[in-house]
Symmetry: C3
Subunit: 349 residues, 3 copies
């Protein structure tokens, strides 16, 4: 797809400087952009690139002052970063603007689908599945019986959603994630074996949630595992049965949350963090990457680090001394020698 | 599906109190149950809910004494928890009682299938695959050539089993897990590149094993990676080539076991644990979440913690002092000052 | 498939001792090999097995001296290990020698395919996908629009590659890995919600790369996430947007690399390691399993350990003292008592 400078300037309500007919078919960072590409300069520290870039079109701030001739066609707008982000979004929308139902796909008569839906080949919808408007279901997706998918949600290839789970509106599920697998519940028996505890609950994912590739969210034993509005989960995260993650919490890759733990609103949890089961985190809790948490956090906006985790600043101090433990041990050894000497002197006296 | 109180009471051989015709179509925890739902009370601390719940039917212990009128229809049984668990299991069985072979699926003429089998659409069976009785293969499953699946095993959607692997009876593989991918074996070459070591072994999974979503178990270089009877693996676990996990061991999510390590019977391994290769764990070893183990454990029933891990109780003590390292350092500083003073006094003398 | 001793000896240019007609259909380690199996002895410490093994054929070094009668047919070659590895490789090639296009698969008219290609059933190729010669695409693979796959690359079942990504020659992608999912980029808004930053870049995987099962590699925000020639990634690894991993670097399972981090050539990174974003690792950096790195490493061939990681040897020392922290604390306590005593004595004087 190609756009001319004139088209883009019109779209962005910007002022055009240079050749209005030059065309771009790709987007790149200023330092990497070549001919036929569109880029932007918002940050003054990148302004030097304006004289050397091969980008055919540049979006810049109205206020930008050029001191030498510029090869690229410029489009001047109030806020170059926002204008560029807007274009990116439109570009992404156009690129992923798929509709229609491809064959073969498995769609029983009991399924209800909304308008303007995309269902890719090899997608499998169970009995009584309900699909809202503008939903995109990529190839190879599996939706179990009675799954509900609300409007404007996108499910990327190979996602598996077990029966009875509910996905809200504008949810994005990335490839390979698994929603609603059985929680890890087993009752130990006297002979050392384990008996499976049936997991008959479901997973409910509220609006505006994004879930990364190959992340797994287990169904509740009874009731629901809940991911609330605006939560963003990265790749390869494990969410166990009956967990509840409250609105606008962000969790980085490879973190694991054990069963029945409740995470507050607006928390920020780093990568590879582990949380034990049955604890609560207050709103705004921040947890450093690779930390391990085994206790509830009652105070909102706490920052924690370490495995086991404690207060971030104290943890930093302990870590600094840990690095110098051999030195501390040496100081103790020297003290021991000196004190021994003092004692012997005293005894000598 | 609906059940009347009379049907359930008959099924459980229980005594009915209240309306025998009231019907339920769902199951919930006592504190969340509404009209049309079935719940139970086994633990005395939940007995207070009996007067406030909207559950239409409650399973309770024979011995339960009510002091006020109860809205719900009661079914009295010897052991309310066991009776409820039995119902859950039956419910789960009914919900997942799929049979038949859906089209399109890929089933070569060389495949042998038992009786009462379910094979979902888009499932792919390689040459010479053998499927036992009552096996359920969900949509989008891939079984490579010569894979054997024994009776009553369930393979959830999108599971991939590479060629020549063997699955026992009553095995459950959750969505997206990968059985039999190549072990991570590369021979370093003089020029800094790596040469792949062909991985020609397989994976053998014994009876009654359950494996979580997106867990990966690599095939052996030669011989077999073995998961023995009754082992339960959670989601996103990595089991490397030639590992052997002995009976009734339980491993929590995101743990990784490196190549050729042997884990004993009835071990309990927490989440996000890492084990290096070529070590052995004695039966009954317990490892705390996020620990890292680099040495064999010879003593049965040991408990370990930390990265690197050591004895659980000692590890707790070291962690407690770690939290107070700044304090310990301060005490050493004070000692240094005092000793310096003592020395100067002595020299002054 | 069966091979006679004569066939194998001819293939390996080896000298045959024993029955030239004996046949093998399987391969095993010397200590596990039975009748009808082929094995080898390269390491002198396994030579004792030569008199007890039931292997039908053994590949041994020319120089091997036998002192008692041997049941197995021997094939003597210059280097038994290399000869055996060669056979393994040929065996693996024969076992996986699939070609042809199975139906149903989704291959739009705009797709270009090379010669001698295998495309399994339920594979989905997007518009304008380009497939080189001898490429194997297993069942259930998804390749988004414009994906390029170069010669001799193998994509195992259920791999998902998002649009515009590029795979080099002789690449191996194991089952369930996800290439090109959206990077985890969200702009925090004043109301506490997050706005998705469109991820319009791609992933480029160079020649001779192998990527493990269920590993995830995110597409760049702009530009490319790059995995360079000869890199080997194990299972369940997370590579974030705009990461660059240089040639011949090896990364073990469950490690996570955060956004825009650059890893040098010939690095060796253990399992469950975490790297923060926007750092650089010099060539030859070695990082111990479960370490966490938050700073760039400028010195080539550094070895690091710990979370947070520092110099390997110092880290070992700190860990050793950590194990004995209760002892160190006790020594400090004793010093305090002694010094208190000394002070009181002095005051007493």
């Amino acid at each position: 797809m190609q756009f001319s400078a004139l088209q883009l300037a019109t779209m962005l309500d910007g002022k055009l400087e240079g050749n209005p007919d030059v065309k771009v078919s790709n987007i790149a960072k200023i330092e990497e952009a070549g001919e036929g590409m569109l880029s932007f300069i918002a940050n003054p520290k990148y302004e030097e690139f304006i004289y050397t870039t091969n980008a055919s079109i540049l979006i810049v701030n109205e206020s930008l002052v050029t001191e030498k001739p510029v090869k690229s066609t410029l489009i001047r707008v109030k806020d170059a970063y926002s204008a560029f982000a807007l274009l990116l979004e439109k570009y992404k929308q156009i690129m992923s603007n798929k509709t229609g139902i491809q064959q073969p796909s498995h769609i029983p008569a009991s399924v209800k689908t909304g308008q303007n839906v995309f269902i890719g080949a090899f997608a499998y919808l169970g009995e009584n599945v309900v699909i809202g408007n503008n939903v995109k279901i990529y190839p190879g997706v599996y939706l179990g019986d009675n799954v509900i998918v609300q409007d404007d949600t996108t499910i990327f290839p190979g996602v598996k959603v077990y029966e009875n789970c509910v996905l809200g509106s504008r949810v994005i599920l990335h490839a390979g994630c698994v929603i609603g697998g059985d929680g890890f519940g087993f009752a130990p028996q006297p002979d050392g074996t384990y008996k499976k505890v049936p997991q008959i609950g479901n997973v409910i994912i509220h609006d505006d949630v994004e879930i990364g590739a190959n992340t797994t969210i287990d169904r509740a034993t009874m009731g629901s595992t809940i991911i609330r509005q605006g939560v963003k989960l990265d790749n390869l995260i494990q969410i166990a049965h009956n967990v509840d993650v409250d609105t606008n919490t962000v969790i980085a890759a490879q973190t694991g949350i054990s069963g029945s733990t409740k995470i507050g609103k607006n928390c920020v949890i780093g990568g590879q963090v582990g949380l034990v089961g049955h604890i609560q985190l207050a709103d705004g809790t921040k947890i450093n990457a690779q930390s391990g948490l085994s206790k509830s956090i009652a105070e909102p906006n706490s920052a924690l680090m370490g495995s086991p985790a404690f207060d971030y600043k104290s943890s930093l101090k302990s870590q600094a001394i840990f690095r110098n433990l051999p030195d501390l041990e040496k100081r103790v050894k020297e003290l021991e020698d000196m004190v021994k000497q003092l004692l012997s002197v005293r005894e000598g006296v």
